[in-house]
Assembly symmetry: C2
Homo-oligomer: 230 residues x 2
């Protein structure tokens, strides 16, 4: 093995040890196979990462964030969840999990650095290593819970509650009082229409809960927003 | 072990050998633990089987059918999928799969005979037996695909297409041309409103695709229905 390959494997191994709780117990051949079939990939903001069909591999987010979404034939989309540093994307690796028969799309929400493990290589290792197979399946099942949450929101909640939850979550995530997204972007994240979001934001604004400007949506009355979100 | 218990264990084992592909390879202690913590339960049509919270155990359908659905605070519900003979319900066993943090409801769609394996007993066996853990997770992940399909239908498809798919599927499943469900029941299965379903059925009826009567919905023009469903 040349110096360059060795350096790269060490770099992958450092991160994989963090992510896979059983890394140190894995046989060297399995560890080597995973590192040897990993590549570091950088995605620019907005760039597509996975296009629904095929197997793009198992994607580990090292920095930035990815967005998973579904898309209809007419190109309408709805965000299922986002992946941040340390999150593993299994749904982009349909060749690893046979049980996944639906198509999801992934794009980069920010400039993102990722490690991509080849699907067939990961599948081969998980075939002979139950620990890694269980880890992959558990990751997928926990995302099932996220998707059910989105579905529940879409189906059952009234729009004011949904928007209040979105603004609270987004503010908590970024640590900022101002959400720098356009109405169209908010609508897309929420699986709603821009007009519906604009109307509801106008109502929130009239109530003094938020202030809407070109720069985004500033939260003025956190207490009332949280009350609405409950 | 008395004669009665032994007879019951043999009865469970006959079915479990059919369902779990690796049953014969399992250690006797694991097989015994599962049989000893199984019970045969009969549910009448419409009876609740699992009410969202808690752990009702792993449910195997021996005859009849169960319906899984979500429910909002206001009691509005939407069908996710149905389980028939030989299907295993993992989502009712939240104590087996930690990753499942959402609540689903289950009721009996017909008079149904089921075997219920206690959640903690199943969890203990799957803790020491990776094969059964993998089987449980794969069962859950394959249901993830069903739910995504429902979600895609709700979010993206127009009502005529959704209704055509429902009627085609139902007719294929029962092997009958007449769907003996009320408009309200169809609406509930489809996550829609009775009025919307009635309006669309009237349209189908005017087009000569179906005939609507007290007894249900009779499919007259399969070709056009399938064309709509595509």
């Amino acid at each position: 093995m040349d110096k360059m390959t060795e350096m790269k494997d060490i770099q992958f191994e450092l991160i994989y040890r963090e992510i896979f709780p059983f890394w140190d117990e894995m046989p060297d051949t399995d560890k080597n196979d995973i590192c040897r079939h990993s590549s570091a990939v950088t995605y620019s903001k907005g760039e597509p990462v996975h296009d629904g069909g095929g197997c793009s591999g198992v994607i580990l987010v090292c920095s930035g964030s990815l967005r998973l979404f579904m898309m209809s034939e007419e190109g309408k989309d709805i965000t299922l969840y986002r992946l941040h540093r340390g999150d593993l994307c299994m749904l982009s690796a349909s060749c690893v999990l046979d049980a996944i028969t639906f198509e999801v799309f992934v794009d980069a929400e920010e400039d993102s650095e990722c490690y991509v493990i080849s699907g067939p290589a990961f599948a081969a290792v998980s075939e002979r290593n139950p620990q890694i197979r269980i880890f992959a399946l558990e990751t997928a099942v926990s995302r099932f819970s996220d998707v059910m949450w989105v579905m529940q929101q879409i189906l059952f909640m009234s729009m004011d509650k949904r928007l209040a939850i979105f603004l609270s979550d987004e503010s908590a995530r970024t640590g900022l009082d101002t959400i720098t997204l356009t109405h169209g972007q908010i609508a897309r994240y929420m699986g709603s229409a821009r007009e519906v979001v604009s109307r509801m934001l106008k109502y929130f604004s009239n109530e003094g809960i938020v202030e809407v400007s070109r720069g985004g949506v500033k939260i003025l009355d956190k207490k009332r927003l949280h009350k609405l979100a409950r």
